[in-house]
C-alpha cells in the first residue's frame, strides 16, 4: 500500500473547544483552556528564526501540551531533553539552536509557564495550527554513543503523521482517555501520551503515576480507557489482583513484554499491544502479545533485511527512506508474510527498564568524573523488571561509588546508573589495548572463592579443619558510607556478619543459629580495597568455629563463634 503524504497537517482542527483535553488531580482542562493558555505563553516567546527551538521541560502533561502548542504557534520547533536532570537541561538550554526554556518547576532558569496559565480568556473558537509537512516540529535529544546527546529532528509529516496513523490504526477517538506512566520527553511517551490523544481529540491524564496502586486509582478515578506503559511498570500492575474495567488498550514499548506479565494482563481482559520503534526511526511495527512474538509492520512501513540481518527500513516516519530503504541499528529476521522477529540492536544502545542509554555515553560521563582515570561498563541480564543491569569497572583510587553516582545523576536517569561497581588498578585490557566483554565480565564473576583447606591435630588428637581464603574488601560495602565518610573502616560487626558468618555457613551447613561470641578482639582497622585473609578453624563435629582476619600477616580481628547444634 502506497502511503499518500497529506499536503499539510492540522492540529486541533476538528476538536470541540469545550471537550476535555486533560484530566487529573491537578484539575480538568478543555481544549479551549489549552488554546488560551498556549496563546498566553506564545506571546512571551522570542520571534522564531530558521531552526529555532524551545526547550520544554514539564512534569505535568497539560503544562507540556501548553508549551508544545505555544512553541508551535510561535513558529518554533520543540526541543526535548533525554532526561530532566539539571545538568542535562542546562547543557541543552545552552545549545545555540535552543532560544528559550519553558518549564513547570521552581528550580530552573527560563520561564515557569505556570505563572501564565489562566491569564487569557478562553473563547469558543478553536485554534488549529497548520503545518507544512516538511516543517521541523520537534528535536528529540537522545542518548548517543559519543557521549553528547544526539539530536533527532522530526518533521510534521513524520511526527504528526505518525500520531494520526496510530490513532487510526488503533481506533482511538475523542471518547478515549489516556493514562501514561512514561514522561512525554521521549518519543514513545510524546506520541502515545500526548500527540495521539491531541490528534484524536481525546483527553490525557496530567500526572504520571508510578506505583501500581496509584496507576490503578488514577485509571479508575479519571476513567482511563488507554494505558501507556513499559514492561517494568506493567509487571507491577499485572501483579495487582484487579485492574480497571473500562480499559481498551494497554500499550507497551521500550523492551519486550515478558510472557508472565502478558498472560496476567490477558487474563484481566486486556491483551497488551507492543510497539517497536526508536527515536531515530519512529514507530516500526506492533504486535498483540497474546498471539505470538512476530512483529507486524505499521501501515505504510516496509521492512527488509540485508544478509547480516540489519534492518532496512522504508517509512514515512524516517527521513529520506521512502523509496530508499535506510539501514538501521536493529537486527531482525524476516518471516514469510511480511512479519519479522526482532533480534536486538547493532549499536551500543541498551534499554534499562525501558530507559535508553548508550553505553558509550555512560563510559564518557564516567571518565569525566573528577578522580576517575579510566572506566568501562558492561551489562548483565536480570530476571526482574529491569531486564539488564549496568556494571561499571573503574580506575579511580580516591573515589567512592556514592560520589560518582551523585555526579552521574546530574545528567542521567537514576535507572540507567551502574548498580555494581568494581574498582581496579587497571582495566583488564588485552595487549592491543582492547577490552573484551568476557574480561570485563570476569570482574563481576559470582564464582565461589577458592579456599585452601588444611588439617591439623590439636593436643588431644582431635582433627581440626582449617580454611583460608583471601578476600578483597569491596569499596561499595554500604557500611563505608555515611558515618565514616572521611576515614572509612569496616566495622567489627560487619566483619562478623558479612565476612566470617556467611563463609562459615557456606562451608559447614550443619551448624545451627549463632549462639554467642567469645574472645572477640578487634586489633587493627580494615579499610576499603584492602586484601585480607580470613582463616577459619573448626574441630571436627564441634559447634564452634574460630576465626581470624589478617592483613599482610598481621591479625586485625579474631574470636570464636559458638553455634547451636543442628542445621537452622
Amino acid at each position: 500500500m502506497a502511503w499518500m503524504a497529506p499536503h499539510r497537517f492540522d492540529l486541533f482542527s476538528g476538536v470541540a473547544p469545550d471537550a476535555l483535553v486533560a484530566v487529573g488531580s491537578a484539575g480538568s482542562r478543555t481544549f479551549a483552556d489549552l488554546f488560551a493558555d498556549a496563546r498566553a505563553v506564545a506571546a512571551r516567546l522570542p520571534a522564531a528564526t530558521e531552526g529555532s527551538e524551545v526547550l520544554v521541560v514539564c512534569g505535568d502533561r497539560y503544562h507540556f501540551a501548553v508549551g508544545l502548542s505555544a512553541a508551535w504557534q510561535a513558529g518554533h520547533a520543540v526541543a526535548l531533553p533525554p532526561t530532566s536532570q539539571p545538568a542535562m537541561v542546562a547543557k541543552l538550554a545552552a545549545n545555540p539552536a535552543v532560544r528559550f526554556l519553558l518549564h513547570d518547576t521552581d528550580a530552573r532558569d527560563g520561564l515557569d509557564l505556570r505563572a501564565l496559565l489562566g491569564t487569557e480568556w478562553s473563547t469558543s473558537a478553536t485554534s488549529p495550527i497548520t503545518f507544512e509537512p516538511s516543517r521541523h516540529v520537534v528535536t528529540v535529544y537522545t542518548s548517543g554513543s559519543t557521549g553528547a546527546p544526539r539530536a533527532v529532528r522530526k518533521t510534521a509529516a513524520q511526527l504528526l503523521g505518525e500520531a494520526a496513523l496510530m490513532a487510526t490504526t488503533f481506533e482511538i477517538s475523542a471518547s478515549d482517555r489516556v493514562l501514561a506512566t512514561v514522561p512525554p520527553n521521549h518519543i514513545y511517551g510524546l506520541l502515545f501520551g500526548v500527540l495521539v490523544p491531541l490528534s484524536a481529540g481525546a483527553a490525557f491524564v496530567r500526572e504520571t503515576p508510578l506505583h501500581a496502586e496509584a496507576v490503578q486509582a488514577f485509571g479508575r478515578t479519571h476513567g482511563a480507557t488507554i494505558h501507556v506503559s513499559v514492561p517494568a511498570h506493567l509487571r507491577a500492575l499485572a501483579a495487582l489482583e484487579v485492574t480497571w474495567p473500562a480499559l481498551r488498550f494497554v500499550f507497551s514499548s521500550g523492551a519486550p513484554l515478558d510472557a508472565t506479565t502478558a498472560q496476567q494482563l490477558a487474563q484481566r481482559g486486556v491483551a497488551a499491544t507492543e510497539i517497536l520503534g526508536s527515536s531515530e526511526t519512529g514507530g516500526i511495527a506492533w504486535r498483540r502479545t497474546d498471539s505470538n512474538q512476530l512483529w507486524q509492520p505499521l501501515p505504510g512501513v516496509r521492512v527488509g533485511a540485508d544478509a547480516t540481518g540489519q534492518l532496512l527500513l522504508e517509512s514515512p516516519f524516517l527521513e529520506g527512506s521512502l523509496g530508499h530503504a535506510q539501514p538501521c541499528a536493529d537486527r531482525i529476521e524476516l518471516v514469510p508474510g511480511g512479519r519479522f522477529k526482532h533480534l536486538g540492536r547493532l549499536d551500543d544502545v541498551v534499554k534499562v527498564a525501558g530507559k535508553r542509554i548508550a553505553l558509550g555515553e555512560l563510559e564518557a560521563r564516567l571518565r569525566v568524573v573528577p578522580g576517575v582515570q579510566d572506566a568501562a561498563v558492561v551489562t548483565l541480564p536480570t530476571v526482574n523488571g529491569r531486564g539488564i543491569e549496568v556494571c561499571a569497572a573503574l580506575v579511580a583510587p580516591d573515589c567512592t561509588p556514592a560520589a560518582i553516582r551523585e555526579s552521574l545523576l546530574q545528567w542521567l536517569d537514576p535507572v540507567v546508573l551502574p548498580r555494581r561497581w568494581r574498582f581496579v588498578k587497571s582495566l583488564p585490557r588485552e595487549e592491543n589495548g582492547k577490552l573484551t566483554r568476557a574480561r570485563l565480565l570476569a570482574l563481576f564473576d559470582e564464582g565461589r572463592r577458592d579456599f585452601e583447606v588444611k588439617r591439623r591435630e590439636d593436643r588431644s588428637g582431635e582433627s581440626i579443619e582449617i580454611r583460608e581464603v583471601e578476600v578483597g574488601v569491596p569499596r561499595d560495602l554500604l557500611f563505608f558510607r555515611g558515618h565514616f565518610e572521611d576515614a572509612p573502616l569496616l566495622a567489627g560487626v560487619v566483619q562478623l556478619t558479612n565476612l566470617a558468618v556467611p563463609e562459615i555457613r557456606e562451608r559447614w551447613p550443619d551448624l545451627g543459629v549463632l549462639r554467642s561470641l567469645a574472645r572477640i578482639k578487634f586489633r587493627r582497622p580494615i579499610r576499603p580495597d584492602e586484601t585480607i585473609v580470613l582463616l577459619l578453624e573448626r574441630s571436627e563435629h564441634q559447634p564452634s568455629v574460630s576465626f581470624q582476619i589478617a592483613r599482610r600477616g598481621e591479625p586485625c580481628s579474631s574470636g570464636t563463634l559458638l553455634f547451636a547444634v543442628g542445621a537452622r
Binding site: 511498570h233 507491577a236 501483579a239 537514576p414 546508573l417 548498580r419 554500604l478
Partner: protein, 87 residues
C-alpha cells in the same frame, strides 16, 4: 519492629538481587532511594511487589505517600506494620 526491619533488609537484598550488598550493611535509617542505598523507581516497584506478596499489604493510591514509605527501611517497616494491622 527490629525483626521486621531485619526481614525487610533481607527482602531488599533478595528481591532486588543486590549482589554486592548484604542485609547487615543496610542502615535502617539511611535513605533507600537515590542517596544512601541508591535504589531507583524500578527497585521501588519491585520491592513493593515483594512486600505485597510477603505481607499482603497494598501501597497507597498516592505516590507522594509511597515515596515517604520508601524513605528508609525504618519507614517501610512502619508502613508495613500499620497496613498489616488494618487489613
Amino acid at each position: 519492629m527490629e525483626k521486621l526491619e531485619q526481614e525487610i533488609k533481607e527482602l531488599i537484598v533478595s528481591a532486588l538481587m543486590l549482589k554486592d550488598v548484604g542485609p547487615a550493611e543496610i542502615d535502617a535509617t539511611a535513605p533507600l532511594l537515590i542517596d544512601g542505598l541508591g535504589l531507583d523507581s524500578i527497585d521501588a516497584l519491585e520491592l513493593a511487589m515483594a512486600l505485597g506478596k510477603r505481607y499482603g499489604i497494598k501501597f497507597s493510591a498516592d505516590d507522594a505517600k509511597n515515596r515517604q514509605a520508601f524513605a528508609s527501611v525504618r519507614a517501610l517497616a512502619a508502613f508495613v506494620a500499620q497496613h498489616q494491622g488494618t487489613k
